[in-house]
Structure formats: C-alpha cells, structure tokens
C-alpha cells in the first residue's frame, strides 16, 4: 500500500439545531487520514455520526468548522464550479438498494446516467459499450440491460448501485452500510465483489458499517466512532486483537458469536449513554 494520503480531515465539526436554541454536535473536532488504495472502515452505533462524517468528507454537507483535503486540495473552501471535478472522483453506494435506484429507469439508463451527465462517451454506442463493461465488472448478465429495478433481487440491485458508482472511475468509493440490508449469503457475495474490485481497480474505499465482523473482513484500517468523536484508530488486526479503548472492547464483546468462536463476554444490561 502506498503511503500517499488521498483524503484527510482536519478538525471538522458539524452540529444540527435541536430547536430549543441548543445544538446537537454530530461530528466533534474529528481529524482523520485516509491513504490511497486502502479500505478504511468507520464503525459505531447508530447516531454516532458516521454517516454525517462521510457526508462532510464528500462535501455533501458543509462543516461548521475544520477543513477537508482531497488529494492535497482543500475542498472545503471550494464551491460550485470549482468543486465539480472532485465530485467525479468520489462516488457513493447507499444502504437500501431498493430506494436508491429510480424505479422508472431501466438498468442501462441507470448506469449510463453519470456517463451522460459528464459527457464521458462520444457516442451512444460508446456509452453502451461502457455500460456493458460495467455490468461485466459487477458480474451481471448483459441481457439484464432493459430490465427495471423491481425485477431484481436485493443483491443484484446492490450490484447495479456499485456499477453506477464505478461508472466514472472514481478514486474514492464511499459505502454507507452497503451490505447491512442483505442476507448473509448475498452479503458474502457483495463483500467478495467489493474486495475484488478494490484489488483490480486500486480503489480506495470508505466503508461505513456497524457490523464488526464485516469490517474485519473488508477493511485495512478501522476508525471507531462514538458520540461524534473518533475514539480509536488502527489496523484491523490491532483493533481486534488488542483494543485499547473501553468502548471498542464493549463493541467487540457485543457481537453474537457462533459457537466455538471465542469466549463470551457479558455485555451488561445497561444502556450506553450518548
């Protein structure tokens, strides 16, 4: 893995108004670095700010304070037209495959849309070629091109979502809980696909998940988030074998384990405060 920094955040903070003149701080003074070619996982409970952080990194929302660098450029200072080239380099795969595809568009149009918006291909024929190439990449058949999203299973829809995200050859793929809504056997297929794509295309991937065993399989490094702050960052093997932060230990002990897989730690009956 090259040690070149692709994306970094410098003390970003984002808060949302709560109504009664208070603000909920979703991301609090977070700094992180992501290297080119690595898969970085963000883990934590729901509401801990992992999705907000991802949106800040992609500049889908603006931070209250702090800066975000993509490939050495401060993208938090850019706006409008200047930001557009960077949009192309960051693509996202969403959680719910059913609601992230337009039900009235067929598969060809869904995957071709980013290509057409960016005027990547010169002719319709070239676009079709590229779409077929993308379908092949995500292991879907060419004959599916004229079908509509409702004719596919959850796993296949997620493959279409991935093909669409890859259409523009992005540097960074952000997967926001992309496998959480899938069954285990389908989840395994999609995880294998993501791992293979990362290897073949040299993608960097920001993988957001609450499932620690999935993260263990796919990530190189892990950031554990809690209540808007990163409490531990490290290599996967280090985090799982010797977690240092209490919260990481607590998360790890909560995973239901199949028998014969390590000892049980009592997660306690209390509720973690936020």
């Amino acid at each position: 893995m090259s040690e070149q920094i692709l994306l970094s955040a410098d003390k970003v903070t984002k808060s949302f108004p709560l109504g009664n003149r208070k603000r909920h701080i979703a991301v609090n003074n977070v700094s992180l670095e992501m290297y080119r070619g690595e898969t970085l996982a963000l883990v934590g409970e729901s509401g801990c700010g992992k999705s907000t952080l991802a949106k800040l990194l992609m500049r889908l929302t603006d931070a209250d304070s702090g800066r975000v660098f993509f490939d050495g450029t401060d993208i938090s200072a850019l706006s409008g037209r200047a930001l557009r080239p960077y949009r192309r380099k960051m693509q996202m795969v969403f959680q719910d495959p059913a609601s992230s595809l337009n039900p009235r568009m067929n598969i060809r149009d869904i995957i071709a849309e980013p290509l057409e918006v960016w005027h990547i291909c010169k002719s319709r024929k070239e676009t079709d070629e590229r779409v077929k190439e993308l379908l092949d990449l995500v292991e879907l058949k060419e004959s599916y091109l004229s079908r509509f999203p409702h004719q596919f299973s959850g796993g296949q829809k997620q493959r279409i979502g991935i093909a669409r995200a890859l259409a523009l050859n992005p540097d960074l793929l952000v997967c926001d809980e992309s496998v959480s809504a899938l069954d285990v056997s389908v989840q395994a297929q999609i995880l294998n696909l993501l791992k293979r794509l990362k290897k073949d295309l040299g993608l960097s991937c920001l993988f957001i998940s609450h499932d620690l065993s999935v993260v263990n399989f796919i990530a190189d490094r892990v950031c554990v988030m809690r209540a808007g702050e990163i409490c531990e960052t490290g290599d996967v093997s280090a985090i799982y074998s010797s977690p240092t932060h209490d919260y990481t230990k607590y998360l790890l002990s909560s995973i239901p384990r199949t028998r014969g897989m390590g000892n049980q730690v009592d997660p306690g009956d209390g509720v973690m405060g936020s």
Partner: protein, 330 residues
C-alpha cells in the same frame, strides 16, 4: 407428548397472486417444547415469518392455510388453531401467545403514550380490574425490561424513545399477560450490536422468569447460537435441517446450512474471499421437481433433480432433508 406446547403439522401456506396459488410454506413440521427457545432461520423470502404469523392468524387475507397447528394447553386439552374462529383466536393472542415484531418504529401507535399501549392489552383481556391496577403492573414491567424511570416513561410517546427502548416496550407488551409462547420475528434486526446483545439477554431472562417458550425468527446465525436451544433451517418454504443448537453448529449436515455458516465473516479467521452459496434464491412460484436447493447445491447428484429428499435421522435429534448428507460428513 407431555411437554410439548405447540406442534405444527404439515403446515402449508399459499398466497393467491394473479389467479395463481403460490405456495410459500410447504408442509412444515415444527415442535415447540415447553420452556425452550426454538430458532427458525433462513434467508428473506423463505417463509419463516409466514410460518410464525400463521400461528397467530395474522396472515394476509389472500393466504390459505392447511395442515394443523396444535396447541397443547396446560389442562391437557389440544386445540387446532387453524380451525379456530377469529374471536376465539383473539382470546389466545395476548394471554397465551405474545409476539414481538421486527420494526419497533412502525409497530407502536405514535399517537398513544407507551404506558397506555402496554396497559391496553391487560384491559382488553380483562386481566385487571381497573386502569390504576393496570398502570401499576405496567410500570413494574417497564422497569423489569430495563427502562429507566418507568413512572415517567409511562407517559412518553414512541418518538421520544430510541430504537432499543421501543423494542423494550414491544417486549413488555408481548409478555405482560405472561403468555406461554413468545414469537419474536427478527426482534433485533433493526438494532445496533450493543443494543442487540442487551435485547437478546432480556428475552432470554424473560423466558426464564415467566417459564415461556419462544420462537425466534432470524436470519442471523449469531443470534441463534446466542439464544436458542434448538434450531430449524428453512429454505424455500421447507425445513432443510433441524437439530439442537450445539449439534447444528458443530456438525452442519445440509449443504445449505454449511453455506450459510461459511458465508458469515468471522473475526479471527481472515480468508482472502468469503465462501458463498452460488446463485440466487429462485423466484416464488417456480416449483422444482426435485430438491429445492439442487440448483445452488455443491453436492448435487442426478436424483436431486427428480426426487424430493425425505427427512432422514442423523442421530442425536439431528434431522436433515438431503440425499448426500452422509457423503458430506467430515
């Protein structure tokens, strides 16, 4: 049998769609012993929820049920729930059978205080004399399921609670009449791991202290291993394998079960790629002549395509519906 609570015999559920009868559950036999937690696992669309819902008569109007659902009452009488009139069945739901639904967000009434929602069950079934007595009981139970400050929370609305808290309210609602059977339909799927662990522990404790049996419907093998005593693996509306939990995890026999278990990413083992079950679940209504799993199976042989495997005894209470399970034994 003396210590059986509920028995599903050759249960078949089919749904009418565009003038066609599509079988969802195809001749399922399940036995729920008293005081045990039975897991029902399978991928989405395999009919596990429909099986559970048929017990409480909560199927959509287009569904047809055949077979028997035998309820063994404490006084020794046996009732077939499929033949029961709706008003009789309603009297069972609540006092005898409680159910926890998957989404705590959508299964609570947003316009009603949570305490009143839980108390409603008691009042409808006339298990208490008045509202004050009901409230007292509800507050005690809310405390028991781990809701802090239950007296104050009694007056909260669902939107004021977190997902885990709402699921606790659902559990309180399901167990307040101290039912004999608790049906939990994916009770932790919408929750975080930490909350999941707490909820599972709570269900286990509730079953112990109220001497309940439970049916745990889930697609998560980890949940099964954590909480269940025995487990049924379902695929395309049929039971593929059934065994005690420790048996199933140590010695999975059916290729489908093996596939399910090996596709779970595990901490500690770091394979380059995960093992997967090839292909997808076939569409509903496309009936296979032979084994339902044969087209995705890695150990298929010629007859798998033409014959239905019968359930075979693999010893130690372990049953499997597969021709080649002996070959697959390691």
């Amino acid at each position: 049998m003396k210590d059986t609570l509920l028995e599903l015999k050759d249960l078949t559920v089919s749904v009418r769609q565009e003038k066609k009868e599509i079988p969802i559950v195809k001749g399922v036999d399940i036995v729920i012993p008293k005081g045990q937690i039975v897991g029902l696992v399978g991928e989405s669309g395999c009919g596990k929820s429909m099986t559970a819902r048929s017990i409480m008569g909560l199927l959509p109007p287009s569904a047809g049920v055949s077979g028997q659902i035998l309820w063994h009452d404490t006084d020794g009488t046996v009732t077939d729930l499929t033949g029961l009139r709706e008003n009789k069945l309603r009297k069972m739901c609540g006092p005898k059978i409680g159910m926890i639904f998957q989404e705590p967000m959508t299964s609570l009434n947003p316009m009603m205080r949570i305490g009143d929602q839980v108390a409603e069950v008691l009042l409808i079934h006339k298990l208490v004399k008045n509202r004050a007595e009901a409230a007292e009981k509800v507050i005690r139970l809310l405390g028991e399921v781990g809701i802090s400050d239950p007296g104050l929370r009694y007056r909260s609305y669902p939107h004021e609670l977190s997902g885990g808290m709402r699921q606790r309210v659902m559990i309180a609602m399901a167990v307040i009449c101290e039912p004999d059977l608790l049906i939990a339909d994916e009770p932790t799927t919408a929750l975080d791991v930490t909350v999941e662990a707490q909820i599972l522990k709570l269900i286990r404790r509730m079953c112990g202290s109220y001497h309940m049996s439970a049916i745990m419907i889930t697609h998560n093998m980890g949940v099964v291993s954590e909480i269940c005593d025995s487990v049924y693996v379902m695929y395309m509306g049929r039971i593929m394998e059934r065994a005690a939990v420790s048996q199933l995890f140590e010695r999975p026999l059916h290729p489908y079960t093996k596939g399910l278990l090996s596709s779970i990413p595990r901490i500690g083992a770091n394979p380059e790629y995960l093992e997967t079950i090839p292909g997808n679940i076939p569409e509903l209504g496309k009936e296979a002549v032979g084994c339902d799993f044969c087209i995705r199976c890695s150990e298929d042989e010629h007859r798998c395509f033409f014959e239905h495997p019968q359930e075979e005894d693999a010893g130690e209470g372990h049953f499997v519906s597969c021709f080649s399970w002996k070959r697959g034994e390691r």
